[in-house]
Symmetry: C2
């Protein structure tokens, strides 16, 4: 085991020289370094090379099938034939932007807002989750007149200038904005569940007071409702409510970032905020929305969305186009028709039970958290050092990759397994995942 | 003729009540207002409603064919069968992101950088032109340590927070950043061509001095190399060179925004900056790159792209994916194989000659500017008022729309016709456009 340097806080990144590479991979990595910007990172000690995909599997150039328990964009499975057909048919027929009249964008927008509480009734389309969060920040700052933003301690909300500066997860070289305050997530700092709501409320109030002390009005509290990059913290349901209430009472907005938890992945709820019994002011969408076709959205309360839009026009040439809408509408229809949220509940239960049965006194598998098919698993015994737990988690993820199963890591210490299979997975896939995880555990713990 | 209110500087926007609407359009507009954010704008007094498109034409619900001389995204023509086939085939086979190894992204990246000067040799992919400009600003600010940005007086560079604040074109409600300075484009303020280069150089230097006087280091001068929203100003070729030289000598970056002029539209050059004999530090791409599939890029000099990327990771889940790359590579191959830049030169010449022959002593058609198939035409006699010229231009665009030809407006006073047909257009399309423009001129000038 080599010690793991921790330079830019991207868990499970490829570092040249850490593992031997075959000539094909070596050549591809050389080409990448000669033409792609150095900002790109590959996953795994030995990066993977795919040529085909279908449903739950990605296939290597030699035909090897990798079980995908990580990618949340192809939430309906890779290359879903009906989504592909919808994209192909619409691309051949018409692809126009939102400055011309078109029924399809309205039909989808109406279907989408119907999945939200009544107060959330307006949509603006984007291409990515970053664009969604960036637009939500513009709206919040416009309507409140404030600039202060509160986020969780290891939050990730996007790659644009305005979202990167509220994303501590991007590492020390990407600076936080002067008007940004971070707060700990109760589950990540071992606050007992009974105290979680009051703890978070207190932290949010402190942050607003600190912003005010610096002459900064709070515009918004932005939270990924599953706190994915903080390590996946869903419980207890409702713990966000008092904090959100305090923010809204102070005249600031609560922005629910549903880019990762949204679109049914959590099974019991279409949106992560639903589990907390709250109504956000703005909700941001992305990743699985088009099952791989780039589309995102801001959905929100009319008074905010239109308070901004009445004076500031918003036009994104590539978003809300008829092909993007065709992809997104196919995704939403299939999600409902195939009762995939029910599948996420049932498969998630099997997954959590299997993981808990493998806890081995917490030597490798510790706390199992999450909801539906978004699961975080702490790795390593509590009495070991941060570096040891990080190393063990990294070894485990790479052992799984050698057994042709894809997952990755998250959390402040990069020691939480991030398990997010496409939500079409079956009991057989869950069993296969658990088998290979067991074998990987046996390998890394000997 | 009704007086034209000028609230948010979007030329040729729909305003409810200005023109009668049939019940179908009325109903669609009602639905839009109930579910889409108010930030959306429709084009034309009587918005158009399309159900199908092919090559140079968009088709209304009653089968009417509209000649598209405006949309620059479907630069190879609407629903180009080979691009559609490339998207469909790849979407059915594999759609992965840049954190896995894949040849296709490298093949395209290599082909793309081969169209640039040698010093520009690194690529980072995005989904939209806004994301490209936003990333370029992040890079420029990171590597220079400065925050000051210089743009043209009516520039438009995007919809993200960071690009909107350098886009005066978005109107008074969208505030410019405190570190942003605007400079006039020589052609837009009637500077003689012989003095254009020295004039622009002087303005850029003044802006840098003013930033410095305020304690702000200049990070970049950002320019759309055709100055589209300033009214289309291409001549004299080379007038940007001394200004760019001054910026680079001062240690700041020149960012060429090629989202509108790039990918061969200007005919004589693949990129607008080529006409000026300059080498930008960063170049931003978007709109026509995927002929409607969302993809953009930042292309630039290694020392800047990697100076940023070595410490700041950049990951855009939805960009550089195999399907986006398949679309973009098909576009680039077809552009080269079908010699579409030569077509842009030849059709552009026919278009400009036709427009010049219709100048009617400048009563309606005034100055004809541009390059290849990106043409700007001043409307109205110089001795008339700004409001009169704006009104005449708007009447003309709407008369053309009634004759089933799509163009729109640009320029500080919204009195420049913006003519940008897909670059596959034929001599017959140009002749048809000129005929209908003549009829529209006769209508509005009586």
């Amino acid at each position: 085991m080599t010690a793991v340097a921790r330079t830019d806080l991207m868990p499970n990144r490829f570092v040249r020289g850490e593992a031997p590479l075959d000539p094909t991979r070596e050549a591809l990595i050389d080409r990448r370094e000669r033409v792609l910007g150095a900002g790109y990172r590959l996953l795994y000690r030995e990066p993977v090379h795919f040529v085909r995909a279908e449903n739950m599997y990605l296939f290597g150039s030699n035909g090897d099938a990798y079980l995908d328990f990580y990618n949340n964009v192809p939430s309906l499975g890779h290359c879903h034939p009906e989504v592909v057909a919808a994209i192909s048919a619409q691309a051949a027929r018409l692809n126009i932007n939102t400055r011309y009249l078109d029924e399809t964008v309205l039909e989808y927008a109406e279907s989408l807002v119907a999945t939200f509480p009544d107060e959330i009734d307006r949509v603006m389309f984007t291409c990515t989750g970053s664009e969604s969060n960036d637009l939500a920040l513009r709206i919040a700052r416009h309507v409140t007149g404030g600039t202060g933003i509160i986020v969780s301690r290891h939050a990730y909300h996007g790659t644009s200038a305005s979202t990167a500066e509220i994303s501590p997860n991007l590492g020390g070289a990407v600076k936080l904005g002067a008007h940004v305050r971070t707060i700990p997530v109760p589950g990540a700092v071992s606050v007992p569940e009974d105290d979680a709501a009051a703890f978070l409320e207190g932290k949010v109030k402190e942050a607003m007071m600190d912003l005010d002390r610096h002459g900064v009005r709070t515009a918004a509290f932005v939270a990924d409702t599953i706190f994915s990059s903080d390590g996946v913290h869903t419980d207890p349901h409702g713990y966000l409510a008092p904090a959100v209430d305090a923010v809204q009472k102070a005249g600031a907005l609560f922005i629910a970032d549903e880019v990762q938890p949204g679109f049914g992945r959590m099974g019991r709820a279409m949106w992560g905020f639903d589990l907390h019994g709250i109504v956000p002011d703005l909700v941001t969408l992305g990743k699985p929305m088009g099952n791989g076709y780039p589309i995102g959205a801001v959905v929100g309360k009319q008074r905010y969305v239109d308070g901004f839009g009445a004076v500031a026009r918003y036009f994104n040439t590539q978003s809300g186009t008829t092909v993007a809408i065709a992809a997104a509408h196919a995704v939403l229809r299939i999600l409902m028709r195939d009762r995939l949220m029910e599948n996420a509940v049932a498969r998630g239960k099997e997954l959590v039970e299997g993981l808990n049965s493998m806890r081995d006194d917490g030597r490798v598998i510790g706390d199992v958290r999450g909801q539906g098919l978004f699961i975080g698993v702490s790795v390593g015994a509590a009495e070991t050092s941060n570096a040891e737990r990080r190393q063990l988690a990294l070894d485990l993820v790479n052992a799984l990759r050698q057994r042709k199963v894809l997952i990755s890591l998250c959390g402040a210490n990069e020691d939480t397994l991030k398990i997010r299979p496409p939500i079409v997975c079956s009991s057989e896939h869950v069993a296969m995942f658990l088998d290979r995880l067991k074998a990987s555990m046996d390998e890394v713990s000997t």
